[in-house]
Amino acid sequence: MAGRDVVFRVKRYRPESGGKPAYQEYRIPYRDDMVVLDGLNYIKDYIDPTLTYRWSCRMGICGSCGANVNGTPRLTCGTYIRDVHKGTVTVDPLANFPILKDLVVDFDDFLTKLASVTPYIVREESGDLSKEFVQYPEDVEAYRQQSLCINCMLCYAACPVFGASPEFVGPAASALALRYIRDTRDEGADQRLARLNTKSGIWECTFVGECSVVCPKDVDPAAAIQTLKFLATMRHMRRLLMPGAPSR
């Protein structure tokens, strides 16, 4: 449908200028099948090539195009303009992260936290690596939900606890830790729970639940963290009451 315009109010930050982030408005034509990312691409292609933002797959898989759209963390490739605009679409960089430029934020802190929970299958070196590790459908089902995480960081942008305490390991890293703990091939549960059973780990979470609300893949990190609290408590009690017993 031609002839309709929408105003994009985009937060801009130019690190070389030394100034504060400020909004810049762009009026663009739009159709009902356009997503917010299409709008940003239109601005970059036809109005202002200096606008900077991340994107890649355009299909909700890469997780790189996250931004706060009208105050809510969303994937811009999965958010239709028709669903969010009332004349204006306000696009901010994801909350709770330092801004590098315009809508691009610094994720380095998250990557450090993700590495701290060993997000891969851990095997004891002395184990027999020649045999096949068979998994049945129910084994996969145990961690399928958490394995859908695409590291888009929307959950961190929605988490007020992370906003107040940046040392908090956060929702996505916790969900991915549970994904590997629940994997029958994995033997690294003990080291992950040791990392997470700390003040900056899962106990920082006060179960606001907004991480699960904004998650575009229905990973439900809030529930994952509560499960980890249970597992960490059981591990602690086992170590207390049965020292020397296997941790899992």
Partner: protein, 129 residues
Amino acid sequence: MAREYPWRRRAGWWLQNRRYLAFQLRELGGVVSAIYGLIFLNLLRTLRAGESAYTAFVDMMRTPPILYVNLVLFALLVWHAVTWFMLIGKSQPIQFTERPLPWRAVFGVNVLLWIGVSGAVVYLIFGGF
């Protein structure tokens, strides 16, 4: 290296959406439950101090300003309890069924149990024996 602009949280972040507001009220309800605990402890203290101290404290608690404050505190406490029951169903670390139960079902059962136990307590205090 380019200069990053640090994140700064707005003071009114919890007014940004109704879920943040609900969470803040839930947390406030937690503080209120502690206040109720202190009131109850003070009640026990005045009970131990003698009849006149106890009567004075009860009379003070019956004054309109204190009653209004108590109404607000009680509403927050109920909100804290209800939202806490809502959370039980949203995290099910122990599953007795193949798939997690719908959170509304868990919430409903817990609320029914809560009402039942509260009714039994009220009956014991005011109605029975």
